[in-house]
């Protein structure tokens, strides 16, 4: 298939898929959730645009889009207790998956400017559209031990940011086993 034919085929596929109803399209997507291209796209982080070296003040930072940060390729479970969290907040499953990649930019920016929990709360609500700002409380950096009463913490000991919510069951943990950063309260 030469370039011109490929270009035509690409547009034809678009037209065909676009002609599907929303439900039909989503049914098709369901069949491709575990496809090899899906895995390649997720595994290579091909959906992340690029690395941004943020060299501005916090005031500037607030308007930097989340998608522009450098995001780690490392495995999800090193950063967030995903299965446990998602079982606690099934209605936020999508958002939780999305923020699994958040710690690196958060940590690096915090290291740079030392912003604290209030700012992180704003970032979480503004940038991630996670949950209502008043519904989030970000704790200090905590060292989670296996003696902790929270079962999901017991499963994932190590340093973590604990984000708790006033809504029961909406707790979120973001972990970073490698970070030596002090959390600015």
């Amino acid at each position: 298939m030469n370039k011109r034919k490929l270009s035509e085929a690409i547009n034809e596929v678009f037209e065909e898929l676009n002609a599907l109803s929303e439900d039909e399209f989503k049914a098709e997507l369901k069949k491709h959730e575990h496809g090899d291209i899906t895995r390649i796209i997720l595994e290579t982080n091909a959906l992340y645009a690029c690395e941004i070296e943020a060299e501005s003040s916090y005031d500037d930072y607030r308007y930097i889009s989340y998608d522009r940060f450098n995001l780690p390729v490392a495995s999800v479970n090193r950063y967030i207790a995903l299965p446990e969290v998602s079982s606690y907040i099934p209605n936020l499953y999508q958002e939780v998956e999305w923020i699994t990649y958040a710690p690196a930019p958060f940590f690096s920016l915090q290291e740079k400017w030392g912003f604290g929990n209030i700012q992180l709360k704003e970032i979480l609500t503004d940038q991630l559209s996670l949950i209502d700002k008043e519904d989030i409380f970000v704790s200090s950096m905590v060292t989670v031990s296996t003696n902790n009463t929270f079962p999901y913490m017991q499963a994932f000991p190590g340093k973590a940011i604990l984000i708790t919510s006033s809504t029961p069951g909406n707790d979120i943990i973001i972990r970073d086993e490698e970070s030596e950063l002090e959390w600015a309260a």
Binding site: M1, L6, I10, V13, L17, I37, T38, R39, L42, Y48
Partner: protein, 182 residues
């Protein structure tokens, strides 16, 4: 036949095994292909960074020699066996579809299957399976990639994913370079 040059970072043990037994589709990253950085002035450093990351994730823990080896390859592929996701308007069409069909564009997990659906439909139409996918991906984390990469000029580096079930047919190792990596 096009020749694409690429780099792949791995342990010396695995590089020896590749030289001896050839490439095998194995669960290196997603178990879906063999990943190479397309030739550029940074492709050695990028391969080394992927090696470092894999090492940090203890993927080489069972290897006899976990020191770094960069393998340089020639990927042989006919023009119509490779799909360049970056230059054929695929991403733009996927965005339009996602918006039109109300797929959560902020969710990578929701968007990735749209790529899968799109490419598979394209393959059906073309009557082939693309052996190589060319796709831009971000550089590895700074912990592993020490280069001051000029994103403003180059954009994200290009990754080649070889999907062929028999990669022996399409890959020649042209050099395996052992690197010191503390």
């Amino acid at each position: 036949m096009d020749i694409i040059e690429g780099s792949h970072g791995t342990s010396i043990s695995r590089a020896s095994n590749i030289r001896k037994n050839g490439w095998k589709m194995q669960p290196g990253m997603a178990g879906t292909g063999i990943y190479f950085w397309a030739k550029s002035i940074y492709y050695i450093e990028l391969a080394q960074a992927w090696y470092r990351q894999a090492k940090a994730e203890e993927r080489y823990r069972d290897d006899d020699n976990i020191a770094c080896c960069i393998i340089l390859v020639h990927i042989k592929c006919k023009e119509d066996e490779m799909l360049d996701i970056e230059t054929e308007g695929v991403r733009l069409n996927i965005l339009k579809l996602a918006i039109e069909k109300k797929v959560n564009v902020k969710s990578h997990k929701a968007i990735a299957p749209v790529f899968d659906l799109y490419v598979k439909r394209l393959e059906e139409k073309a009557g082939i399976k693309y052996k190589v996918l060319s796709i831009k991906v971000p550089t590895p984390r700074k912990d592993y990639f020490e280069v001051d990469y000029p994103y403003n000029i180059l954009g994200s580096p290009l990754c080649m994913v070889v999907r062929d079930n028999n990669p022996d047919d399409i890959i020649d190792i042209i050099e395996a370079r052992e690197l010191r990596d503390e």
